[in-house]
């Protein structure tokens, strides 16, 4: 079976120009030689900290940013060589959801207009069945048809993100790039949107490239996870594998640094010192070596290539098959939290039965 999306050697270097003549004085190596595949109906998460190139990668996939080099194929079609017109056609099959739904929705268009545009442009709906199609896609995203006449400013943050998802979903794409879709939302709303994305995937079989800095969300939603550092992929593995046995020291420190809402887990200790180096002038050898607790001379001199260990691809000279696996535990149904949650859920069900909507 060939993958839905195949990306090979994706690279984006931005020239840095200075002075009166706009001479190129350097390049920001935002993304360098990134390769991955995404299968139909699965979620590949790309994680990393600010400046690691994850958003540039997401945008380059749709050629919203023109890649410097590399190849990308969606369903076998080469995306790099498409003309502008063909590319627009291709957008029917791949879409994007942004972090800030307020910034990405036209404030002068009602939700109906926002959704009608792609439906009509891509011939998914005709004037005759437009009404029904709009209602259908709103319903998929947990909105009602009366929301169609409203403007973006009339919605709360979570509802606006639902509109953003509806817009992306309108043309029934095979792949949606989700660029930090829940980062700007409050926890309770974030959970609603994460659940919605999972429901839609189950129902329609759409694949996600899920770009996020939040490892807990990623662990929850991803099939596979790719970790980026300073423009390069440093580790890629099935989600369960990555969290149970992270092989790259950077992945390990990312996981260790994520705060756990559990006072008995003890305090997190910062395991990485210093800041992300400049992407204009990345360190020699392994880009992580100045912050890596394990770095040896070889790491400073020679850049590690991605190699395969078990199901994991990792770019570290020192990586070895894991001997220890982190214990994750299933949700304990007998904690006070779980029991009370059950009480609330039961009450909710009861309420729904007694008051018919």
């Amino acid at each position: 079976m060939s993958a839905l999306l195949e990306v090979e050697g994706l690279t984006k270097h931005f020239p840095v120009r200075r002075g009166l003549l706009r001479r190129v004085v350097g390049t920001v190596q935002a993304v360098t030689d990134v390769s991955f595949t995404v299968n139909a109906g699965e979620t590949l998460a790309i994680v990393g900290e600010s400046g690691c190139g994850k958003s540039t990668t997401g945008r380059a996939l749709l050629r919203l940013i023109e890649p410097t080099s590399g190849t990308m194929r969606l369903d076998g079609t080469d995306l790099m060589t498409l003309s502008r017109a063909d590319l627009r056609q291709m957008r029917k099959r791949m879409q994007i959801i942004f972090q800030d739904p307020y910034g990405s929705l036209n404030p002068r268009m009602t939700v109906r207009e926002v959704l009608s545009e792609p439906l009509l442009l891509h011939g998914v709906a005709t004037q005759a069945n437009l009404q029904a199609k709009v209602a259908e896609v709103l319903g998929l995203c947990g909105l009602s048809s009366f929301h169609a006449e409203r403007y973006p400013h009339e919605f709360s943050g979570g509802q606006r993100q639902r509109v953003g998802i509806a817009r992306a979903l309108a043309t029934r794409p095979r792949l949606i790039v989700c660029d930090e879709p829940v980062s700007a939302l409050d926890v309770s709303v974030q959970a609603q949107i994460v659940n919605l994305l999972q429901d839609i995937q189950k129902q329609l079989g759409v694949a996600y490239v899920f770009i996020s800095h939040d490892l807990a969300v990623v662990r929850h939603i991803a099939t596979r996870v790719a970790v980026m550092y300073l423009g390069r992929m440093v580790e890629e593995a099935p989600s369960a594998e990555l969290f149970a046995a992270p092989l790259h020291p950077y992945t390990r420190s990312l996981i260790a640094a994520a705060p756990r809402p559990d006072p008995s887990a003890g305090r997190v200790h910062a395991s990485v010192e210093g800041d992300l180096p400049s992407a204009m002038n990345p360190p020699t050898g392994c880009a992580f070596h100045p912050r890596c607790p394990l770095a040896v001379d070889r790491c400073r001199a020679e850049r590690p290539e991605l190699r395969t260990i078990g199901d994991t691809r990792v770019a570290c000279h020192l990586a070895e098959p894991a001997t220890m696996r982190a214990q994750t535990r299933p949700l304990d149904a007998n904690t006070p939290l779980a029991r009370r949650l059950a009480v609330l859920a039961a009450a909710r069900t009861r309420n729904k039965e007694t008051t018919p909507a």
């Binding site: 509802q159 409050d186 994460v194 807990a216 756990r260 395991s271 006070p336 009450a347």
Partner: protein, 332 residues
């Protein structure tokens, strides 16, 4: 080690803050009480619009009036009533005995002054140091908060530093005059996780060394679990639950607290589906007679919709504002 039996450095009683003009008045903070002791950290946790940031601004008397207005309550800092304190004395407290750290260090540092100059100004004003002594103290503070090559950093402008470094400068600025109370409003929200871990560790170390009290405002239960001794959970301008951190996580009582905890995806726990709280926070202008969470609460009955539940103790230092608490018949 101070014990909670000592008089608190800060106590807030029945604080009410309103915003609005003419008839369009809404209460952002409605009857909030808590206290913070030396050497300890109190967290205020809640979602956007719950009033946590207005509470912290109110303590520093930084709520701009109009449109803001203190509608009642008392704020006592080391025996002084802050709401009646003359402006000049309040100014002396801010940046002096009360340090502040805000979420976005780029907008809270002045871009046209060097980082050093901003600390030196504070030291000259509050500690009456000479220019030379202030500069030396600034370098010392930069070293204390872990900025690399501090003697060079003092002459850097904020834009020359990374986000984590800027937040370190903010912390150095907040600590410049050995504050008795540090108010940190979402201090790590704009930072990456590895940097967040560094900053939280730094704040904790500094607290151990100086014994300062910390009031930490955050939306992140993970940050609360790791740093706070005690927690206040706020919803729509009111305190819904208040407890020592371990007790709150082991025995959450308010339906909102329970919903919030269950909605957080966990890096260490498997779950098929996240629990959600249905609906969204009521808009600030909504007139709510009863419990403010009633419209989203599956347990809400007629009493909840008409009478606001009082915050009452259900165990030592564990208080909850819910008519239905404890929601299980027997407590564990």
């Amino acid at each position: 080690m101070m014990t909670p039996a000592d008089p608190p450095i800060l106590s807030v009683e029945d604080l009410r803050v309103e915003f609005g003009v003419d008839r369009n008045v809404f209460r952002a903070v409605d009857g909030v009480s808590f206290s913070v002791h030396r050497g300890r950290t109190l967290g205020i946790v809640g979602e956007s619009g719950c009033g946590k940031s207005v509470t912290s601004l109110a303590i520093m008397r930084l709520v701009s009036a109009p449109p803001g207005r203190y509608a009642g309550g008392r704020i006592t800092f080391d025996g002084q009533d802050l709401l009646t304190l003359p402006d000049a004395q309040m100014r002396a407290l801010r940046g002096g005995r009360m340090g502040m750290i805000f979420q976005e260090p780029m907008t809270s540092l002045n871009p046209v002054y060097t980082c050093g100059a901003q600390i030196i100004e504070s030291l000259k004003v509050h500690a009456n140091l000479s220019a030379q002594a202030a500069r030396e103290r600034a370098i010392e503070l930069f070293d204390l908060v872990g900025l690399p090559s501090p003697s060079k950093r003092v002459d850097d402008y904020p834009h020359q530093l990374s986000g984590g470094q800027r937040q370190r400068v903010m912390i150095a600025l907040a600590l410049a005059n050995d504050p008795d109370l540090l108010i940190a409003d979402e201090p790590t929200t704009a930072l990456d996780v590895t940097i967040q871990a560094q900053i939280l560790e730094l704040m904790k170390d500094l607290q151990d060394r100086t014994g300062t009290a910390i009031l930490l405002i955050t939306h992140d239960l993970g940050v609360v679990a790791e740093t706070c001794d005690e927690v206040v959970v706020m919803y729509a301008g009111t305190v819904v639950e208040q407890a020592p951190t371990a007790a709150l996580f082991a025995d959450p009582q308010h339906p909102y607290t329970i919903g919030l905890m269950a909605a957080v995806p966990r890096i260490d726990v498997d779950a098929d589906r996240l629990a959600t709280i249905e609906g969204s926070v009521p808009p600030p202008w909504a007139v709510l007679k009863g419990c403010r969470f009633a419209s989203r609460c599956p347990l809400a009955d007629d009493r909840c919709k008409t009478q606001p539940p009082p915050l009452r103790a259900i165990a030592d230092a564990h208080r909850v504002a819910c008519w239905h608490a404890p929601i299980e018949g027997a407590r564990p």
